[in-house]
Structure formats: structure tokens, C-alpha cells
Amino acid sequence: WDEPIIFEQSRPGRRGVAVPAAGVPAVELPASVRRAEPPRLPEMSQLHVLRHYVRLSQENLGVDQAIAVGQGTCTMKYSPKVNDRFVNDPRIAELHPLQPEDTVQGVLEIYWRLERMLAEISGMHRVSLQPASGSAAIYANVAMIRAYHASRGEAEQRDQVITTMFSHPSNAACAKAAGYEVITLLPDENGYPDIEALRAAAGPRTAALLITNPEDTGIFNPRIEEFVRIVHEAGGLACYDQANANGLLGVTRAADAGFDLCHFNLHKTFSTPHACGGPAAGASCVSEALAPFLPSPTVEFDGEGYRLDDDRPLSVGKMRPFLGVTPNVVRAYAWIMALGADGLREVAETAVLNNNYLMRKVLDIPGAGAHWDRNRLEQVRYSWQGLFEETGVHSEEIGVRAADFGVHYWTSHHPFLVPEPFTLEPTESYSKEDLDEYATILAHVADEARRDPEFVKGAPYNQTIHKIDPASLDDPKQWSPTWRAYTRKHLT
């Protein structure tokens, strides 16, 4: 489709939906609060609004369309359709969050039961499902860390948080946003976070270690228990970023390595859909010692019914409005119920096997590599450095060209400590045939890059649009973050 911007399809007088008239006397607004000019929104009939968005949707690739193994760290797994049905039921969709508890026993039971299941999966004591995302869960964990130290009179003293370079950037960013100084450990020559650097950093100013494991490289840090111990000995807390727990379900648990806190992303490991970037949902899991600091309210069960507890004096308070991102809580609950303990274990094992299988295929492609010759769990951060040196084609360009074949990848987070990176995470959802196809496409594009680098650099050729000139996006004089800005800067 060559679908215009929606404003270009407007014709005055048309409308997509009608609004009931008040049926009661109108209110005259004082001039100070009355809108002067009607907003310049598009005016379109209902079919035309629908058609526009349906066409745009067809210009997008989700898990249900493509082999989405290319968004490593994102755990792009199948989100069962049946779970959407529960969420769309009015008895979830049309519940108000402040209804009396006796009218929401079903949804409270789901919250409660999911909390208990995640507690078992993490080995932790209590879980909050309030955080709106993985990053929000990290922030909630940091807030609890601060509250914990404050309760011990050490809030001022403990002003540093330690993290690692291959931990998700939100660990550093959330700690900073919460006012902490951030110390980042680089990998040692083996690809593991540098334990000596940790020893040097840990001390009386240490509030916590925030660490992902396996890191975004897919490498599991076998000394993780020692990391925790070092931080504990310094009086800090250990907080485990389990956004990517997909290879570990039923295999190892945060609590078993001594962590005080961890978090999960329900939209990764527990299959709730990514929704173009949210709504997501996070789960903050804590040890008994940290439980008093959990966000409020918590869901409590007295053996007969479920109720909300808001009377929690040590709580960090509200992380977001109301109890949580309920649709995703419902989906995650249903997903775990469909799998059970054996199923979760099978998820983990298959995710790891799929990843190792794909790794074999990818590393067979000339020009592709992976730093550090280590085992990988559920994902691998690869590098096209070899190919780049040979052809001058960047990883990003390879990815764009791969999109011409209906698959894609993203180039992961800055900084590119791994040069020309790409991170693949096949999860348990894809078949061997999918992985073969994916690797075949990458091999094909790498071969193209070798034979005709300019061709690959000119991609895409088989997409809705052609190669974008990004220059204007960083130039304040030209950038146009809205059509309104574009019209002003470029069309008048």
C-alpha cells in the first residue's frame, strides 16, 4: 500500500463515529477555559479510518507473521490467541479498578495465583505485579532498595549502584533516575563481568548490584553466587534482572543464587504480546526482608476471599495507577497454567537448544562471529565485524536487506561494545525449519554483501518504502516529530 498520512485523507464534514447528544441542558463555558479553534483532526468515514489502519497493520511484522528471532533480548515468543480471548471478555475489559473487592474476586485470584507461581519460579517470597514494564520493575526494585537502606539509616551513605555493561541499559538508567551513582563493570577477557572490578567497587557506598544473567550476550556467569556474596559482604543488596529468564525456567532460580530481588518481564518470558512496544508488564520479586517495601496495594488471601492491602507503612507506594497491567497479568497466568512445571522446563530447554542450533548455523556463515567462545543459553550477541572489514557493509544494512526476505533483526543497544552487533533469540516458539530459513537468508545476504556491497547498502528494495535519509531527524531546524511540525517546517 502507498498509504498517505491520515491528515491527507481528511475531508471536512465526514466522521467516523457519532456521539450521543447530551439530552440535558448544555453548559456554557467561560471564555477562559473554552477552546477557541477546533482541533485540526482528520475527518473521515468509519470504513476509511479502518481501512487506513488495516493497511498500516499489513505493513508491520509481528510474531504471528514472521520469524521474529531477530529481536534478541526481547524474547519474541508466541502469545497464544486463546489468552487474548480472556482479556477481551468484559469481565476483564470492563472492570473498573476501584470496584468493591467482592465484585472482583476472580481477577484478584488471578493476581494472587500468578504471584504465587512467580514466587515459586524465582524462589522469592513475595511479588508485585504493579510495574508497567521490565524497566518499571527495575525502577521499583531500586525504589525498594533505597527504602530498605533508608529503613536502616543508610540511605545517604549508600549512593552507588553497580551494574555490568551487558546488563540491560535500563539497570543503569533507572538507578541513575533514582539518584544513584552508577558503576558499570566491563567484561573481562573471557566475556564474563570482571569480578576484580566488582571487588574494587563494592563497599560502604554500595546500595546494590543490578545484574543480568545470562547477559545480553547469552553467556551465563558461573560466578554469580560469588558476585552476590561480594555485594552482600559490602552491605549491599543483589538484584537480578531476569527480563530474559526464558532459558532458565525450572533450571535455576534467583533466590538460589542469593539474590534479594529480581524481576521478570511478563511480555518476554511469560508470553504476553509486545504490542508494538507495550503495554507490557513487569513483576518485582523480593525476599522476605524486602517484602514490607513492596508497592501498594498488595493482594492478600485470607483462606476465603481476596482483598487489597493498602495499609503498608514501609511501602514505596504507587509505581503506577491501580493494581497492574491487568490484561497481561491474565495472559501470563493463563500461559503458565497451560504449561505447568514440566512445560516451563521444556520451554527453557527448547529455547536453549534452539539458540545453540541457530548459533551453529550462523557461525557457519563467513563473516559472522560471536565474541568469546563460550556456551550460550537463550540468545547470542553476534558480530558482523568480519564481514564489515571485508565488504564495508554494516550490520544495520545487513538487517535492512534481510527484511526484504520477510525477516529482520535489530542492532541491539548502544554502546556497540560488540562491533557490528546483531542479537538473535529464537525462543521455544520457532521450528527447526524456521531457524534453517532464517540462517539461510542471513547467509544469502552476507553473500550478496560480498558480491555487491553497494547493492546491500541500498536496501530495502522489497518494502513499503525505500531507504530513509535520516539526516533531518537529528537537526532541530528540520526534525518533525509531528505532522503539525512537518507542515510548519516543510510544507509552508
Binding site: 498520512i5 491520515i6 466522521r15 467516523g16 448544555a26 453548559v27 477562559s32 482541533p39 483532526l41 479510518v49 489502519y53 509481528g62 510474531v63 529481536q71 526481547c74 497464544p80 469481565r91 476483564i92 470492563e94 473498573h96 470496584q99 472482583v104 485470584e109 507461581m117 508497567a132 514494564s133 521490565g134 524497566s135 541499559p169 543503569a172 533450571v251 504490542a275 507495550g278 503495554p279 507506594g317 504507587k318 495507577p321 491501580f322 491487568t326 493463563a334 497454567m337 504449561l339 505447568g340 514440566d342 512445560g343 536453549v352 563460550r374 535492512v400 541500498g458 518494502q463 513499503t464 518504502i465 525505500h466 531507504k467 530513509i468 533531518s472 531527524l473 532541530p476 505532522w483 503539525r484
Partner: protein
């Protein structure tokens, strides 16, 4: 049985793949995890409901223990609002191309970029501001970030916050800002608006909500903007976009940053899971630099006349800079942004005006009817949009009577104050039914 969600759990293919990677079993692949950390027992979880049919039966039984707002007459609001959700909104956000996609590039995910760009562009028209973010989590987060943006922009660490905000939002602001921004709470006047306030050059911002927690539309926005600007501070206004077809947008009276929640624009109540936050500013480089969120911009392609999209000023973000970025960015609420765009496109300027007029009129009608029914209605001289409070001898007693009539009468703010929410979904008959029940409850 091979689980329907795990194609390669099928033993034959599993064996093939193990052979291909040269492993005897998956255990080999876990070799890096020390034995001491290994869980050598199955997780203690409920028995699985492996067949979809059994799962459906289980979930249906749980859902049957909820009573939703289509089954009772609900006047609950206070941050989550019942509005009509056009079926096209659900149709679009249920399309699996949107629902199951994530973070692809501007080529294979051109549709997502365009849909979100259009959302921010429609919000920009509604707000009369040129820069709007890809949605953040919710209105709480948007408010917190907006104030933090003002603090960074001004280099100051104090903010005046209207006292007419909800306890929950205040809790969030204290948690999110309290450790390094001094929050001074402004008084509430007898009319329910923000009271008399003063600030000085240490203030980064005045933070105002309209309609505020009592449903009162603030009328002194211009005055507060002047006050803020005179002190070198910014005016930050949280406004529900559903009101802006009839109410003046914050920018029109001088606000520097607008923010709020877009749940009203096409999201179901979702037991509180339909929230998403917006933040908007004018197109000033220094202000734009303070957004933590992603901003999508339009850009030319190699084909003349063709539009592409990309990130504006990406190097502000934590994706690019980790802790040196502005706060953090991550998965938030993009699909709700797309949905709100669909909503605004369906409504258009006429629809937004009409829904505003209908809500204003029905809110006033409900205030009048409940006053007649014997409730005390504070701030009755002020303009209300969608919400108002009533004062009664006992909220609990009144709510109990209303329950008997199948009515959820409102949100209890304290023992004697009830917050009542009226939207376009509440017909005159519904309001009359509430009034009659209130009369009985107060008799």
C-alpha cells in the same frame, strides 16, 4: 505429547538438533550453571491445563467471579474512566500485526511507525503543541517525567504541585521525584481550584491538573503561566485529552509542558490496565532534549515524495546513553497510542467537541439532580468535567444502599466525600436512577 506451543519439543526433531549442535542432551548446554544453583526438582506449580478447552473452562470459572461495569451501573472514575470504545479501536489494536510486533526497523515495521507518528500528530493538534512523545506508561509517570524535565530544563530542584491531585498520583510523585526534587503542595481554594500560590526563582515548575481530582476545571491557567514564567519556571499542566474538544488546550494559556493519561481515548477500563501517558512541548531544542521517551519523526526516502519515519534525537535516550540518557526508555504503551490515534481519527473535531459538550452537560445535570436528592455538592459554582464530589453523612452507608440498586455510586475519597463520575455513557435515565437511589440512601 508435543506441546502445541513448543514445536521443537517433538522428540525426533529434538534429537536431530542435539546431534547438530553436538550435545548429548540439553543438560550439556547448561554446563555453565554451577550444580549448586541448579534446581533439582520440578517447580511446585499447579497441574497444567494442557488442552485449550480445559484452560478455557478454568478461566471462565474465574471470570464468572467478577461483576463488570456492563452488568451494574457504575459511576466510578478517579483516574480510570468508562467511555465508549468504538469497535474500530478494538479491531485495530487486535490486529495481530500490531499486537504481536515489537521493535522492528522503520522498513518492515513502517506501519507501526506511521500509526504512532499519526497518533502523536493528532495529539499535537488537540494540544496545539508540536512535540508529543511515544506514550509512556501512564499519567502518573507522564506527570513525574514532565516535572523532572522542567527541573532539568531550569536546573532547579523545587516544584509547586497543585493540592488537587489524587493521593495515588501524589504517592507516585513523591517516590519518583522526592529524593532530589522538593515538592511544595499548593492549597486548594474553596471553589475546588488551586488556591493562592507564590513561587520564587528556586522553582522549576508549577504543576497543575485540569480537570483536577475533584473534576473542577481550572480557570486560572494563564495567571499561573505568567507567575511561573516571571520566576523563570515552567508551567506543567496535566489535562485529559478527552476534554480538549471543548476545553482550551494548556498551550493556549501558556503551559510549557502538557501531560496526562490517554486511557479515555479508546481504551477499556481493563481493571486499570488501559493507562498510557502523554507528554507534549513546543518544538524548542532544549526542551525536546529533556524527553526520555522516544520521539518519532517523519523523514524523506530516496524516492521523492515518499515518507519514512525514524527516531528524533535518539541520543537523548538511555538506549543510546545508558545512565547518561534522560531517565530511561523501554517498552511502555505504544499500542494504546495507536488506539488513541484511531479514536481521534474516528471522532474528528466534531466528535471531540460533541463528546465534550455531552459530558459537561451530563455532569452538571448529575450535580443538580444529586443536590436535589439531598447531597451536598461542594464547588458547585465551578465548571466540572466528568467528575464532582458530594458530601454525605456516611459514604459507606450510602454506597451500601446504592449497591442494592445495582449501582456503584462512586469512589470514596474519605468517610464523607464521594467522587462521582459521569460520562457520555451515562444517560439521563441512568443519572435519574442514581439520584433516586441517593435520595433513598440519604432519607
Amino acid at each position: 505429547m508435543t506441546h502445541p506451543y513448543i514445536p521443537n519439543a517433538e522428540p525426533g526433531v529434538r534429537a536431530e538438533m542435539l546431534a547438530a549442535v553436538g550435545a548429548a542432551s540439553v543438560e550439556d548446554l547448561y554446563a555453565d550453571i554451577p550444580e549448586g544453583l541448579r534446581l533439582r526438582r520440578p517447580l511446585d506449580l499447579p497441574a497444567p491445563l494442557a488442552s485449550e478447552q480445559e484452560l478455557v473452562a478454568h478461566m471462565r470459572a474465574l471470570l464468572a467471579r467478577n461483576v463488570d461495569t456492563t452488568q451494574v451501573l457504575s459511576f466510578l472514575g478517579h483516574g480510570c474512566y468508562p467511555h465508549h470504545v468504538p469497535a474500530v479501536c478494538d479491531e485495530v489494536n487486535g490486529r495481530s500485526e500490531f499486537l504481536t510486533a515489537y521493535a522492528g526497523e522503520p522498513y518492515e515495521d513502517h506501519g507501526r511507525f506511521q500509526a504512532i507518528f499519526e497518533y502523536v500528530s493528532m495529539m499535537a493538534e488537540l494540544l496545539e503543541m508540536d512535540v508529543v512523545n511515544v506514550p509512556t506508561y501512564d499519567g502518573h509517570q507522564a506527570a513525574g517525567t514532565a516535572i523532572r524535565m522542567a527541573a532539568r530544563y531550569t536546573g532547579r530542584s523545587r516544584a509547586l504541585v497543585s493540592g488537587a491531585v489524587s493521593a495515588d498520583r501524589m504517592s507516585k510523585l513523591r517516590d519518583f521525584l522526592g529524593h532530589d526534587i522538593d515538592l511544595v503542595v499548593a492549597p486548594v481554594g474553596p471553589d475546588g481550584e488551586i488556591g493562592e500560590v507564590e513561587i520564587d526563582e528556586t522553582y522549576a515548575a508549577i504543576y497543575l491538573e485540569t480537570p483536577n481530582v475533584y473534576g473542577v476545571v481550572e480557570t486560572r491557567g494563564r495567571e499561573l503561566a505568567d507567575l511561573a514564567h516571571a520566576a523563570g519556571a515552567l508551567l506543567v499542566v496535566s489535562a485529559d485529552p478527552i476534554s480538549l474538544g471543548v476545553l482550551a488546550p494548556p498551550a493556549s494559556y501558556g503551559a510549557d509542558i502538557a501531560c496526562g493519561d490517554i486511557q479515555s481515548l479508546g481504551m477499556h477500563q481493563n481493571y486499570g490496565g488501559g493507562q498510557a501517558g502523554y507528554i507534549a512541548t513546543r518544538d524548542e531544542e532544549r526542551l525536546v532534549a529533556e524527553f526520555p521517551s522516544r520521539l518519532f519523526g517523519i523523514a524523506p526516502t530516496t524516492v521523492p515524495g515518499e515518507y519514512g519515519f525514524g527516531d528524533v534525537f535518539y541520543d537523548r535516550t538511555s538506549f543510546a546513553l545508558r545512565e547518561e540518557g534522560k531517565e530511561w526508555v523501554g517498552t511502555a504503551a505504544a499500542l494504546w497510542g495507536i488506539t488513541a490515534g484511531v479514536y481521534l481519527a474516528l471522532m474528528g473535531p466534531q466528535g471531540m467537541r460533541e463528546i465534550g459538550e455531552t459530558i459537561l452537560a451530563r455532569t452538571r445535570y448529575a450535580m443538580d439532580r444529586l443536590a436535589e436528592a439531598g447531597a451536598t455538592v461542594p464547588h458547585s459554582g465551578s465548571v466540572h468535567f466528568r467528575e464532582f464530589t458530594i458530601e454525605v453523612p456516611s459514604c459507606d452507608a450510602l454506597l451500601a444502599v446504592l449497591r442494592e440498586h445495582g449501582i456503584l455510586g462512586g469512589v470514596r475519597l474519605d468517610d464523607r466525600t464521594l467522587l462521582v463520575c459521569v460520562t457520555e455513557l451515562h444517560s439521563k435515565d441512568d443519572i435519574d436512577r442514581l439520584a433516586a437511589a441517593v435520595r433513598e440512601g440519604l432519607a
